[in-house]
Amino acid sequence: MTLSPSSIEQVIPGQGAMAQPSARARRRRFRFVANAKAATGLAVLGVYVLLAVIGPWIAPYDPDARSADVLQAPSARHWFGTTHLGQDIFSQILVGARSVMVVGLIAGVLATILSILIGVTAGYLGGAADEGLSAVSNVFLVIPALPLIIIVTSLVEQASDTLVALIIGLTSWAWGARVLRAQTLSLRRRDYVEAARATGERTWRIIGFEILPNLTAIIASGFVGTVIFAVMSEITLAFIGVSSMTSWNWGTILFWAQGQQALAQGAWWWFVPAGLAIALLGTALALINFGIDEFVSPRLRTGGRTRIRTADGRTVAMRVGFTPVLAPNPAPVPMQRPADPIGEDATS
């Protein structure tokens, strides 16, 4: 009955009064992109997706083609240098992007869907269904994923990207399901869920339309997490040489580099681009995740801007417990001047 001052509603401006809803809705739609982190992440991801699509076409060389330039450092001819067979590493990276993106996205989508299906259902239904589904996800949680993936990929002779993605997806949903279940448990007794029930909504609709939208942040971060995990797994598998490597991916490049002891030979260019490409992809995804977090959670959103510029150009620190005072006060009453007039409240 009492409304805590920290609850979502009060943080959002204009509560208690009607602001122009249409303008508001528009602002809301673009706020996500306006978030600098999300925008950066999306831009980088966009480039990756683009490369995944057009990479093989724009690659200057056939990634398999051998040339006389054996083990050469980056040059104008070979931007990222060449391998011990004279293959162009830049082309390998470009061509390899597709497989990485395909595996990451398919596995991410699959694991996310599974974790939603199992986690949310278990959390919402409770009882025996919950026990059963939780047991299943616990079993999947305790099964060591990477060795399992190694084993399963070795079951088939030609593990295609899709298959690797499916396997990674199938083995990596459990954690997300667990988190979602816990969150659903706390959501399902929320009043608005009860209210939806009392309105007469069907169960699947309650799950899909009342609960799921409120899990967006978690689902998104779970998705991003699995994509990163899937990419890492794929690359790891290729790196340790267990997956079949019919197509190029960045792990394959690293595998060759490691197999030829590139670092010992001083061929840093063989290693560095693939590793950085992976790290950059991971960072982009993490940035998008931050963006989603701040977008969905109003607390983080206001938290994003801790220093704000006032109209007269000063910077003010926003912090809990010490509300900033904007106007410098004339002092009409005799006052104990504080020993240290520069507080964190108002600094110029």
């Binding site: 079993v139 060795p147 890492m232 560095v272 991971g282």
Partner: protein, 325 residues
């Protein structure tokens, strides 16, 4: 009582299911340990020798999978994990016993340190948003997005050249006998610095991030405002009020991560040739060493389950609220 029994039954079921899967999955793989042995000794084991190896590994008798499964449980219940193929006839328990301490030592310690350090930095970042610690986030995120092994390899290339203080592989200087003495311990420590640093760098930002977000959330709780209103010192509000509450979810995450210590370190151990369990598992998978694989899976399964239970209990202990459902 019923609740307790239910929990126990639940965990037992999970354990049973996981162990069963762990039994069957390795056996579904084509190829057998003998074949793997042959491939490792390309051409130097003759076809005639295969028979002797099959006899050696006890693969000559044709037992159905079901019989093997039953026998496996019989063994397990007697606390016998069987004999490893790769190190035949060393008992699996011995193989695990010799590599577990390394893993637990390296990864266990780094997990704890990374949790503590990450949490501390997360507290700082969350409390003082916009400060330098907060500014660290993009960097740590980047670091944590780098594949472990790549980071390890680069670390080796950069820091572990010949003549460097950092050894590039192994758990201790070859030739030393593991013992708690003034020769071995420093050597073991020296060998662990680089892998530990790698793990730290790439795992810490997860803790920083989750702690930071929890801090941000908690910092807007009423009781924090009240604590400020009470005029408590910044430190006390930040630590005793905000951090103490923000810690709760992180602690259960930490308990769970303890469970993954055993299994989650394959790559670091491979890259640094660290004589731990992850490396052993990798070898076992390659060698189709079912008994060893199962043994390691068992350890992983049990430790994850125990950690799970620990997380449950930790939450109960740390959070005095017995929440109404």
């Amino acid at each position: 009582m019923r609740f307790l029994l239910q929990r126990v039954a639940f965990y037992l079921f999970t354990a049973w299911a996981a162990i069963t899967l762990n039994f069957f999955i390795p056996r579904m793989v084509p190829g057998d340990p003998v074949q793997s042995l042959i491939s490792r000794n390309q051409g130097r084991i003759s076809a005639d020798a295969v028979a002797s190896l099959r006899v050696l590994f006890g693969l000559d008798s044709d037992r159905s999978l079901w019989e093997q499964y039953v026998a496996y449980w019989g063994q397990l219940l007697r606390g016998d994990l069987g004999l490893s193929f790769t190190f035949f006839p060393a008992p699996v328990s011995e193989v695990i016993g010799s590599s577990l301490p390394w893993t637990v030592g390296l990864v266990g310690v780094t997990t704890i340190v990374s949790f503590l350090l990450g949490t501390a930095l997360g507290v700082g970042a969350g409390w003082r948003r916009g400060s330098w610690i907060d500014g660290l986030l993009p960097a740590t995120t980047f670091l944590s997005s780098i594949p472990y092994f790549w980071l390890g390899l680069v670390a080796i290339a950069l820091f572990a050249g010949p003549g460097s203080f950092f050894p590039s592989s192994g758990g201790y200087e070859p030739g030393l006998v593991p013992a708690f003495d003034a020769y071995f311990i420093p050597s073991a420590l020296q060998h662990s610095i680089l892998p530990a640093a790698t793990i730290l760098v790439s795992s810490m930002s997860g803790w920083i991030l989750s702690m930071r977000n929890m801090m941000v959330t908690v910092a807007s709780e009423d009781y924090i405002t009240v604590a400020h209103a009470k005029g408590l010192s910044e430190r006390r509000v930040a630590l005793s009020y905000a951090a103490r509450n923000a810690l709760l979810p992180n602690v259960s995450g930490f308990a769970l991560s303890l469970g993954f210590i055993v299994g989650g370190t394959l790559l670091v151990e491979i890259v640094f040739s660290y004589p731990g369990l992850g490396f052993q598992l990798f070898q076992a998978v390659g060698a189709k060493d079912y008994p060893l694989m199962q043994g390691i899976f068992l350890i992983i399964t049990i430790s994850v389950l125990v950690a799970n239970l620990l997380a449950d209990v930790a939450y109960l202990l740390l959070d005095p609220r017995t929440r109404k459902s």
